[in-house]
Amino acid sequence: MYGWIFRHLPGPLWSRILTSAALIAGILVLMVQFFFPWMSQFTTLTNSTIGSVQQP
């Protein structure tokens, strides 16, 4: 899959390496901004309140 993507990136080798680095960085940013905060609601580590006012 990743090999296929890499082979289908345009340009010479150096630009394909740069493009894939940029793609990876972009995906990381998206994960930190949106995916991880969303996922943290499923961990219970962050429960620190009591009873009825409990928030995740």
Partner: protein, 261 residues
């Protein structure tokens, strides 16, 4: 053995070429599944790193900013008053709007420069970035009753990570715009998350009329778990208005917080 050798070497190209021709779709599927599983593993590892480390970095920055903003509204001298004086009944402020800063908490036991903002409300948006959240509906500092705050044991600043290290007699200082409230830590209790009675005006005593001012801190227990809650109870010992200066124990830190160290 010597007879099997040529047989095996002759058979290898046949099977491998057959596999390449007939099983190429299955092969591709297995390869893609493998790559996806490796990716999922890497993402989970990254999530753990984000949760346990990066949320602390972010929350520390947010809290430092909240303290800086709040410190601009603080007044009064930075040198502690000479000698102990009784300043009478402590001032009690009204609870601010949800998400606004009530004050700053200093706990020398948690580190010489431990200072964290106390913010109104215990919603995830408050606790996950600003640290200590005041349970709406519980008393404000200095009032007879229970000033109850929640904070994370791990992640998002881990503001109460060392709550189990408090020793009876430890001072916990709360600074508001009105002044400085000195609490003395008394004991902790480990309870189930459903025990809302720890937030009562007299903790765990339903219907009792409070005469003292309590500070109750709640966090999750055990560390890196959330099956229980650890509750730390403290009692108001003394109060001094902002106009006379901070308690000597935290004077240096207060000056640093105000940017005048």
């Amino acid at each position: 053995m010597t007879q099997q050798q040529p047989e095996a070497s002759a058979a290898v190209p046949v099977t491998s070429s057959r596999r390449r021709n007939s099983g190429s779709a299955a092969r591709k599927a297995v390869q893609i599944t493998g790559e996806l599983l490796l990716t999922a593993g890497a993402v989970l590892l990254l999530f753990v790193a984000w949760e346990l480390w990066w949320t602390n970095v972010e929350a520390d920055a947010t809290q430092a900013k909240a303290i800086d903003g709040f410190a601009k509204e603080l007044t009064g001298p930075l040198t502690p008053p000479a000698g102990a004086t009784d300043y009478g009944k402590p001032a009690v402020s009204a609870a601010p709007a949800y998400g606004d800063t009530i004050g700053i908490m200093y706990v020398p036991r948690f580190g010489a420069d431990y200072s964290r903002p106390i913010v109104q409300g215990t919603g995830a948006d408050v606790l996950d970035s600003l640290g200590l959240g005041h349970y709406a509906g519980t008393s404000m500092p200095g009032a007879a009753g229970n000033f109850a705050v929640a904070g994370h044991r791990q992640t998002h600043g881990a503001v109460l990570d060392n709550i189990h290290e408090l020793v009876p007699g430890d001072r916990i200082y709360v600074q508001t715009k009105a002044g400085y409230y000195t609490y003395v830590y008394r004991n902790n209790q480990i309870v189930l998350p459903s025990r809302t009675d720890v937030l009562l005006p007299v903790p765990t005593k339903a219907g009792a009329q409070p005469r003292d001012s309590y500070l109750t801190m709640t966090s999750c227990n055990p560390r890196f778990g959330s099956g229980e809650r650890i509750i730390a109870y403290s009692l108001l010992e003394s109060w001094q208005p902002a106009s006379v200066g901070p308690p000597s124990d935290i004077a240096a830190l207060v000056a640093k917080t105000r940017g005048k160290a």
